[in-house]
Symmetry: C2
Subunit: 289 residues, 2 copies
């Protein structure tokens, strides 16, 4: 019989990931802060956990994916938190994007309880989550990864083992830094040409025929040109991830000049936006008012 | 009989471009500040011009590609400069990367003499120049472009007509801004992971499987990982192009925060480099000393 999977965090990413685990035949127990987000999964056969602790207590493998480090701390160590409830021999997979430091702290706490731990943040967006084609960036012990690999394979097409705990988060922060700067670069370039009297569409057309072409720009350029930003990866989360990257850089004693400048741009747009836009909305920084 | 083409500027880009014009069967007259750079072309059948003026005087179409705005001003308006020598009815194509402002000034001067003018900077690097697969970003009149299109097609695979004079340069500066920031982003991300104890190769491997993949990064990542920077597009020229983009932004009354920060990084590396490296050498900024 397949191991029981617990799943905490049914947001834009978590919900389709959990559905793929269920479809792969794993008994599934889910919990979400807003319970209504669990309804579809329950209709498909998942059990609803009463709390993070109650969910963890039933799980052989517990997957968590919530929005930021404070949310991770709350579901693990808060009231009715998951961590003390995890059974000896179970494995916690955290797919949230957090600091490598918090990943290592969680690993130590798990080890004390005889629980395996992987930091396993993902990339691929909501599209990848729905198709089961996410990329997992894993930090932790090989034997722990091998134990849960089939569960990860239900959600992802590529699983990279990058080193000990924290390494998955380190690479994820670096990855999102590249994405944030690529989109900032496009936004700055579009601001430049449009203010100088050339239609943004022309820059995009030339770009796609040149060395400047990039996967993320194929996806985000149309949003910027239309000035419509339905959230695939929300700007508030990208803003948080740039902050985590800058904090890691500070701990390592290096400066990241473009990342720091871009953080200021994302911050300004986050403050000014009344909706919850995709991070391509960084282009709003240059909108004529 | 095919029109005679004059070609001024036989650098990393100009030399292979001129060779492709010659191979396409155009009578070719060449001039370069360092005459030795013309030897190969002369062996292949090109004539050597005695000066920019003497080269221009023989040309139905004059192509110029030199390193920066002062170099353009010198070959056009300096001693024995090309511009006064151009014949009525001829066309000047400037493929240098310069300010849109200087392009428009040159267009006005050409028009007074009955000479057609296109700003037609290129992208595609030395590889594209050698293969005849450059992308031309053209500003100017349609009828002027149509007159010289076959000459451009000898050197390039795509020709984008982007608007009136200056539009080609505007898009080129925006394009190089994207490239400069993409490579800066990769360099910052690699600095982050390596300082945090993860091998840079791992980030590149994950990146290439993710939405962060980009054409320029496939080319530049290996250079950064090997810490070897033979110039394909020299850092000193990218540094100049970011400066031109920032100057254009200032004229248009907008700020480009990441571009400004990145300019400082490229400046620092340019000052510290004793060789003439490719712009991927921006990664030297984070080298442990």
């Amino acid at each position: 019989m397949k191991p029981t999977v617990g799943f905490i965090g049914l947001g834009l990413m978590g919900k389709p990931m959990a559905l793929n685990v269920l479809k792969a035949g794993y008994p599934l127990v889910v919990w979400n802060r807003t319970a209504a987000r669990a309804e579809g999964l329950v209709r498909e056969g998942a059990k609803l956990g009463a709390s993070p602790a109650a969910t963890a207590a039933q799980a052989d493998v517990l997957i968590t994916i919530v929005s930021d480090p404070p949310a991770v701390e709350k579901i693990l160590w808060g009231a009715d938190g998951a961590l003390p409830a995890l059974r000896r021999g179970s494995v916690l997979i955290d797919s949230s994007t957090i600091s490598p430091e918090l990943a290592r702290k969680t690993a130590v706490a798990c080890e004390k309880n005889g629980v395996g731990y992987l930091d396993a943040p993902v990339t691929g967006g909501t599209w990848g989550a729905e198709k089961g084609e996410l990329v997992f960036m894993v930090g932790g012990k090989s034997e722990t990864l091998e134990k849960v690999r089939p569960v990860l394979e239900a959600m992802g097409k590529k699983i990279f083992h990058l080193g000990p705990n924290g390494a998955g988060q380190t690479v994820k922060l670096a990855m999102n830094l590249i994405l944030a700067l690529q989109v900032e670069a496009l936004a700055e370039a579009l601001a430049l040409v449009t203010h100088a009297g050339v239609a943004g569409e022309k820059l995009v057309e030339v770009m796609q025929a040149s060395m400047a072409r990039a996967a993320v720009l194929d996806v985000k350029a149309p949003l910027i040109l239309k000035n419509e930003f339905p959230p695939s990866f929300p700007l508030r989360l990208m803003h948080k991830d740039i902050r985590l990257a800058l904090e890691l850089a500070r701990q390592e004693g290096i400066t990241l000049p473009a990342a720091a400048a871009s953080y200021a741009t994302y911050s300004a747009v986050k403050e000014a936006s009344k909706d919850d836009p995709d991070y391509a909305a960084v282009a709003r920084f240059w909108q004529k008012t």
